[in-house]
Symmetry: C2
Subunit: 248 residues, 2 copies
DNA sequence: TCCATTTGCGTACTACGTACCTGAAATGGA
DNA sequence: TCCATTTCAGGTACGTAGTACGCAAATGGA
């Protein structure tokens, strides 16, 4: 059996339950992934080490390599497991705006439940089956309004960009706070606060100052802010669709 | 002298050239940062280790800590140095569309010159002076068309989201290829290719298939593709601005 | 029963960030 | 000119990471 390492994790299926000779696997790829996700949720992505996962499973670190080729592949599996929680209807409803709002909300929920998800997702080119499923739903929502495939892809990309960026803005500093060892509230006040205050007081960036000091958006709840930005994007898409030349 | 570690790097200026007794610094914070950037450009972000930087500078690893408090702070400094290369006019020209196109192109150029830049920038909440300068220019381009500060911030954010996401899409797989040790062309063909082909042939995601197989966008040069997406965003912004209710 | 096969996992190697410490170097004052 | 003082250079070392390697244990078929 060739040890074909240099290929995507999705091409290397887990060892099947055979009925031949040899010891039976004590764990499973999904079990390893689920443990890794639990650790990342509770203590951040940095805490996800092979030794730590193995310890939680009650086994030795090297045993994990029977189920996952490399640590990086485990990240792809974690992304896919988290995305599998995004529940969606079987197909688009016909109301594209409602469908995409639903999609965005579900992805945001998954992103908040797993604060490491969006950072991981946007930092590596991964294409797990559940990411494909979610993406396909977005494409489907745009289909049937008379768009060609390039516009469908473009608009879906615009939406993805917004959703990912907005979620990262919402929770990005949480992970950073954890990395520096401070609790999030202290980090904001003691670590980043003094610098921002200094920048503001310097007056060097007047429009930045206004966006920090005068913004009404800053006083909304995170969910309202997400929704407001989403509506902005969907308004933009609607405006563009209205302006598209009729296709033959 | 208190060793105030837990605060932003921008609040901890480099030790000044004093005129008291004692040895003079042999290097500088900028020199260290510049070396780190050079290494990252040539061999990827993973190659930027304290030992490697020190080796390139011809000194010992621990000497670097005289200039940079922690390795993470060095990343902030690298981001700022790379962003300092984004040359911009002193103020907006009055043609917001031209200004933002210029801005996007310059940021893209910096992102291509430093393939690690966008990944780093979007994975940590950093606010270096040069990032603020570039952001202020974007805000300025939106000012004076009768937008309030919330709309200015919102539109500038939309643009940032697009520019960063597009650049990441353009080069994201390069870094991933380097991480796996393959050259980029081989990675695309041998690592990711077989899986994509399998997904396509399965027929499970028909719209994804069409976006891969039928897209005309895929045959454009990267620059044309970037420009096309940018125009789409700017069209959307223009459409939204036109639709905004007149403010008193 | 015995053996080919596969898993569990301890050991060990390399490489990382960085705390600590020693000694060298540079300067102002005498 | 010489020395006390201050600062920097950088070696050593500790803890932790990913993971290559190899052997013992377990298992089912012959």
């Amino acid at each position: 059996m060739a040890d074909e390492k240099p290929t995507s994790i999705w091409m290397q299926p887990e060892r099947q339950e055979r009925s031949g000779p040899g010891r039976r696997p004590g764990y499973s790829r999904e079990q390893v992934t689920r443990t890794a996700v639990r650790i990342a949720d509770a203590e951040g992505l940095d805490a996800v080490t092979m030794r730590r996962i193995a310890c939680d499973l009650g086994t030795g670190a090297m045993s994990l390599y029977r189920y996952v080729p490399r640590r990086d592949d485990l990240f792809d599996l974690m992304i896919d497991l988290a995305m599998s929680e995004v529940e969606l209807p079987d197909g688009p409803s016909g109301d594209w705006r409602a469908d995409l709002t639903l999609l965005a909300g579900r992805v945001r929920a998954a992103g908040l439940r797993h604060p490491w998800l969006i950072a991981l997702l946007t930092s590596r080119p991964t294409l797990g089956p559940n990411l494909l499923r979610v993406h396909e739903f977005a494409l489907g929502a745009f289909e049937g309004i008379g768009l060609d495939i390039d516009d469908i892809t473009g608009f879906a990309g615009m939406l993805d960009d917004y959703v990912h960026s907005a979620i990262r803005r919402e929770i990005g500093w949480q992970e950073e706070a954890r990395r520096t060892g401070l609790d999030p509230e202290r980090w904001k006040r003691d670590y980043m606060g003094p610098y921002v205050r200094q920048v503001v007081e310097s007056g060097a960036f007047p429009l930045f100052n206004r966006s920090v000091l005068e913004s009404r958006t800053a006083h909304l709840t995170p969910e309202e802010r997400f929704r407001q930005g989403l509506d902005r994007i969907l308004d933009a898409v609607a405006a563009l669709i209205a302006a598209l030349p009729a296709r033959p």
